[in-house]
């Protein structure tokens, strides 16, 4: 009797359980195909393709003259002398300075002779080694050490090329391009950085390849950046290996379209020595790849081993300690794709939160991949290969590789919008001249009408005058020299001023003379 009852109960339980399981599979089937099959083959426009050198559209042109800097001389003095197109060759020696490049198209190259490098030495007192703001900057072949801030920091420079540098024990970041478009970071070796060794912040169209990063808090970090590929790097013994993030509270709010492929990501078990308050200070030691709030991150072909916490973790802002919430940033990691990777011996010593999740989910094995939080439209190609946790909602990827996408670097350099001389002259005229000169009334300086008459067919004369004005009128204040404008811009603004009418329309000065 009791046996019978037990059997009935069991079968009822099975029925209910089976029903629940069937429902679950029907609504959230792990075999649902996710993503477009041609995700990495279709949009070949505006990026380089197979057969093109990666550095085709980045770096300096080298069309100018060469300036040699020898041990004992100042690199900055050479930068100051240099014009766009110039190559600055730095010979082996120790250079204790901060080099800042606020010009376009400068090639800063170290000369390595019989194993002797040019060394930038910060002595633990200098802030940053190299700061650049210009477009088309190349920095290569330097050994950079003991700076308090960054080794190489870019602010808004496009088409940058940073390669073959050794960065050892600099303060916060090793290589940190920020707010740039189209940049290549390759063959650098970085170690001992207390935040990210390679930190791509708020950039677009980036390629990071063949670098070696070890003993840093974060190896490679792609933050608030789109269209980036991180490949063929050796990333080991950092606290966290490769990170794709949205940091909240920044003016550029998204990270998406990132491929992390063919990297060695191993033994990232270094103790976290990040600065208190920094975001990486919250990265648990032993994390191979961390995806936080980033979308369309595809992870393929990596060898991910011996990361004690977890091989890959996908998470959101809510689940990450120490992160402020930004209503303008989407906190979730969506459309993440995990393709074929080699993973073993990860997750053998997970943090408490992951241990707790394992308990709840009755998982005993060491975990390769963890998803914490909501992740919509994400997929995994072959879940059977890994031990996963929290990936129940992941579908099966509808694409198997990223081979069709060689790089997101642009086929042509990202250029500022090209402006004609007349357009530039107009900007300078309204932006600067109208502060003192109105068209037909006296302000601080004489009316533009009068200047037009005086210099009617002599824009060169006006351009010269504004560079070095002399006082001509007793009842007008002396004009300040406008020699900070380039000769080209001075001529452009002179021409514009001589041709402008009250409506801001540009007329050819020749027409004004012969109405």
């Amino acid at each position: 009797m009791s046996n019978k009852l037990f059997a009935v109960l069991i079968s009822a339980g099975l029925l209910v359980g089976g029903f629940w399981l069937g429902q679950h599979l029907a609504t959230n089937s792990p075999v649902a195909l996710v993503g477009d099959a041609d995700r990495y083959t279709s949009n070949a426009a505006a990026r380089i393709t197979a057969g093109t050198a990666l550095d085709a559209s980045v770096g300096a042109s080298g069309t100018g003259t060469t300036i040699d800097v020898f041990n004992g001389e100042s690199i900055q003095a050479a930068v100051k002398r240099a014009s766009s197109g110039d190559i600055i060759r730095v010979y082996p020696g120790t250079y204790q300075e901060t080099v800042y490049i606020d010009k376009d198209d400068i090639w800063l190259t170290g000369v390595i002779q019989r194993g002797h490098w040019p060394i930038l030495e910060g002595n633990h007192t200098l802030n940053d080694a190299i700061l650049y703001s210009g477009n088309n900057i190349t920095v290569e072949n330097f050994r950079i050490t003991h700076y308090k801030g960054n080794a190489i920091m870019g602010q808004a420079g496009n088409n940058f090329l940073i390669r073959n540098n050794h960065v050892i024990d600099t303060g916060v970041y090793g290589i940190f391009p920020q707010l740039g478009k189209n940049g290549l970071i390759e063959r650098n070796i970085l170690s001992g950085i207390e935040d990210a060794a390679i930190y791509v912040g708020m950039c677009d169209n980036i390629h990071v390849n063949n670098n070696e990063v070890f003993e840093n808090v974060a190896g490679i970090e792609i933050e608030n950046t789109r269209h980036a590929i991180v490949e063929n790097n050796k990333v080991y013994n950092n606290t966290g290996g490769i990170l794709a993030f949205i940091t909240p509270g920044l003016p550029i709010k998204t990270t998406y379209d990132v491929i992390i492929r063919n990297n060695f990501i191993s033994d990232n078990n270094h103790v976290n020595f990040g600065a208190p308050g920094s975001i990486v200070a919250g990265v648990p030691s032993g994390s191979g790849i961390v995806v936080m709030a980033a979308d369309q991150v595809t992870i393929e072909g990596n060898i991910i081993t011996n990361n004690k916490n977890v091989g890959i973790v996908i998470t959101d802002h809510q689940s990450f300690a120490n992160i402020s919430l930004d209503p303008e940033s989407d906190p979730n990691s969506d459309q993440v794709a995990i393709l074929n990777n080699v993973m073993f011996n990860n997750g053998y010593q997970p943090i408490n939160e992951i241990s707790a999740l394992k308990l709840v989910n009755l998982i005993k094995n060491d975990v390769d991949i963890v998803n914490v939080g909501t992740s919509a439209d994400s997929c995994i190609l072959d879940p059977g290969k890994y031990v996963t946790l929290g990936l129940d909602d992941y579908g099966r990827c509808n694409f198997s590789d990223t081979h069709g996408t060689v790089s997101y670097l642009l086929p042509e350099p990202a250029e500022p919008h090209p402006f004609t001389d007349t357009e530039k002259g107009k900007m300078a005229y309204y932006g600067i001249c109208t502060g003192c000169h109105a068209y037909n009334v006296r302000m601080i300086g004489p009316p533009v009408q009068i200047i037009q008459a005086l210099y009617m067919d002599n824009p060169e004369g006006l351009a010269d005058y504004i560079a070095k004005p002399i006082k001509k009128r007793e009842d007008y204040p002396e004009m300040p020299a406008q020699n900070y404008l380039s000769p080209e811009l001075r001529l452009a603004v002179a021409k514009f001023m001589l041709g402008v009418d009250n409506q801001g329309q540009f007329n050819d000065p020749a027409l004004n003379q012969n109405p």
């Binding site: 037909n440 006296r442 009316p447 008459a453 005086l454 009842d475 003379q513």
Partner: protein, 199 residues
């Protein structure tokens, strides 16, 4: 300061004492003291910038000024300037006139001098000076003391292109361009203001 006064005094004296012999011909129209002659339509020249006078004389001599058929007065002047035999003569006449005390020709035009002051300040003063005294650095002649009739006539000539069209007359071409920025009514007001200068 005293030295400057002395210099001015000296130069005035020398001009009065040693009046340019070449000026005799000019005086018949422009007056013995360069005060002009309204009946002859000859402007006052006393106190005008010497460089301006010399430039204009040379323009007349070479036909840069006075070549336009519509400007018969200038054509007359062109003929008269030809009498001056040399650059030295041109300089001598010009210096003599420049050193004469400025005169006040009769007022013939009426207008709103207050409005004229504002217009003058915006359109003219930047070159011709806040008090119509001219500006050597800008090759701008004095306007005060010249006479409104002459100024009005010249302004119209600039407007029509009878003056200031010759490619070698750069300051004239500048003035021709400026003349398009003032209407006839505006001109009357500006002249009314210029007439008040020094009175």
């Amino acid at each position: 300061m005293q030295l400057r006064h002395l210099f001015i005094l000296l130069s005035c004296t020398s001009a009065l004492t040693f009046a340019s012999p070449h000026y005799q011909t000019c005086a018949s129209c422009h007056g013995a003291q360069g005060e002009g002659n309204a009946a002859m339509q000859a402007p006052a020249l006393a106190g005008q910038s010497a460089t301006y006078l010399a430039r204009q004389l040379n323009y007349f001599k070479s036909g840069i000024r006075g070549g336009d058929q519509s400007d018969t007065l200038a054509q007359q002047m062109r003929a008269m300037a030809g009498i001056l035999p040399s650059e030295a003569a041109v300089q001598s006449v010009s210096l003599f006139l420049a050193n004469l005390p400025r005169t006040q020709p009769a007022v013939t035009i009426s207008g709103d001098a207050d409005k004229g002051y504002k217009l003058y300040n915006m359109k003219c003063g930047a070159c011709h000076g806040p008090n119509g005294q001219g500006n050597e650095a800008l090759k701008a002649p004095a306007l005060a003391g010249v006479g409104d009739a002459y100024l009005a006539r010249q302004f119209t000539l600039f407007k029509t292109g009878a003056r200031g069209s010759h490619p070698e007359d750069k300051p004239g071409r500048q003035m021709k361009m400026m003349s398009t920025h003032l209407s006839n009514d505006d001109l009357r007001d500006v002249l009314a203001y210029i007439n008040t200068i020094g009175r």
